[in-house]
Symmetry: C2
Subunit: 324 residues, 2 copies
Amino acid sequence: MEQKGELISYRPDIKVVDCTIRDGGLVNNFYFDDEFVRNLYTANVAAGVEYMEFGYKASKEIFDVKEFGKWKFCDEQDIRDIVGDNNTDLKISVMADVGRTDYKKDIIPKTDSVIDMIRIATYINTIPAAIEMIHYCAEMGYETTINIMAVSTAAESELDLALDLLAQSEVGTIYLVDSYGSLYPEQIRRLADKYLKVAEKYGKKVGIHAHNNQQLAFANTIEACTVGVSYLDATMSGMGRGAGNCNMELLLGFLRNPKYSLNPVLKFLQNQMLPLKKTGLVWGCDVQYMLTGQQNQHPRTAIAFTAEQREDYAAFYQSLLDRE
Amino acid sequence: MEQKGELISYRPDIKVVDCTIRDGGLVNNFYFDDEFVRNLYTANVAAGVEYMEFGYKASKEIFDVKEFGKWKFCDEQDIRDIVGDNNTDLKISVMADVGRTDYKKDIIPKTDSVIDMIRIATYINTIPAAIEMIHYCAEMGYETTINIMAVSTAAESELDLALDLLAQSEVGTIYLVDSYGSLYPEQIRRLADKYLKVAEKYGKKVGIHAHNNQQLAFANTIEACTVGVSYLDATMSGMGRGAGNCNMELLLGFLRNPKYSLNPVLKFLQNQMLPLKKTGLVWGCDVQYMLTGQQNQHPRTAIAFTAEQREDYAAFYQSLLDRE
């Protein structure tokens, strides 16, 4: 495996994607106030971040709009209330889950939208539906990514087939997603290499979205970067479901491109993230998330353990080992 | 660089060193009660950990015994009060800082001691004094390690010379120590490779002691392990100065040798570490430690920032950049 770039130089192909509202929204049901989102937008622009993800394009048929904040749905007007026409270098992205979005209704032509990129999230068994969505979004004029979730539980032969199909679609970037935070750096490098080999053959980019169950989200992100992955997801203070994500402040401290600036991020952390944490929202590394990560399991049991304020780690561990 | 071992197998040469009392003692001035230390000892034995470090052999001429808990000094009788004659497979270690220990007085012959290993901590400019201490301790019958601190600020040419001298001494293990938590995995692999090349030539082992300023302590530990480092330092809940260390619970979850058991560690966390944290002791990743790590600086300013309960990250960052 070849290393791409040196610590002292920088790779201009790297794109940082802020997912604070989207993955962080899984912590607070997307109830961020406009002031917070506007400050985040301003901070991302000032920090030189390339993309900011505003949330999901979730189906209003499937999800009750009264039960979630507006960033679960990302109506065009709600984004425009924050960014106007977005006359900045920051691009705007939203995520759409295969099977949980009315994309033919809710995704309008790019010419009428401030959104730049649609990120399509799929499991390995819904690749054909994902390819249909990619095609639709590309025809509408958007940049697209495909995020194959829970890859740590996918059969390697199926993954190979999926990557080959996806690389031949209109998609721009294929994401390596460690949904369960279970992968070690050596596995990430091996997978990243696999993704890159297929993607580069068809002129596609590769991205990484890591979770912090084993305190490896940042390490896995920069290790993937080192072997050539170029779209790097991060969130402010690592805010995200369960153990959270790669911290934006760690990532920008690592990247050497002078276009990035840590200062606006630090100001956002002290002025917005610390008060948000003090409202009682909880995310980040903890023993229960480590255990689901180590066992390559969905974090839902750990999230319930956290909500119940349990501390009996050993009993929880035994319950995870019982998989019959 | 060759990978040693596969994720599915295990390397019998690996030794896990618990430093909870020694590095964690820097958080609470070594005031652990005997109940805590005894429970830690029992947990380490049950978990299959190879070494437990009880603290420092600090000079009572330099340090006032009234200002520190007893594990700053590790009197023979104090250790025996916990372990008796230590009829277990767990070996006992203490650390001795070059220039801050009266080793000729305080380190007694191994035949009269339950201590198995003396870890000698040095900076690059006190290598000759360290070699004298290695010689003394080896003559006394102990296993020895040399821990070269703050290696991220050492000139590479001096490090090469130091490694060559040390590898020819009686020392058993040479430690790569990331005192400032500033090193990235790719730097750790490169340094580990350098240490290993010299060490293996003279039949020595290499160890790693990582700090968690950039959430990389665990990642750097397992990456060093992957290229052949075999002595791995960790602490319960990552307890240690400032940002803390590699978490024992993460490390044992990673290692595949069936001799290790996570269960006693989890019980120790819930029964001992959680109550300890609730007394108000603070350690672990935080923005101020990340910043000193990114700037390759001693964490003392971040420790002061924490003690003063400051939250003005951006101002703190600017103060770090001012190095004149």
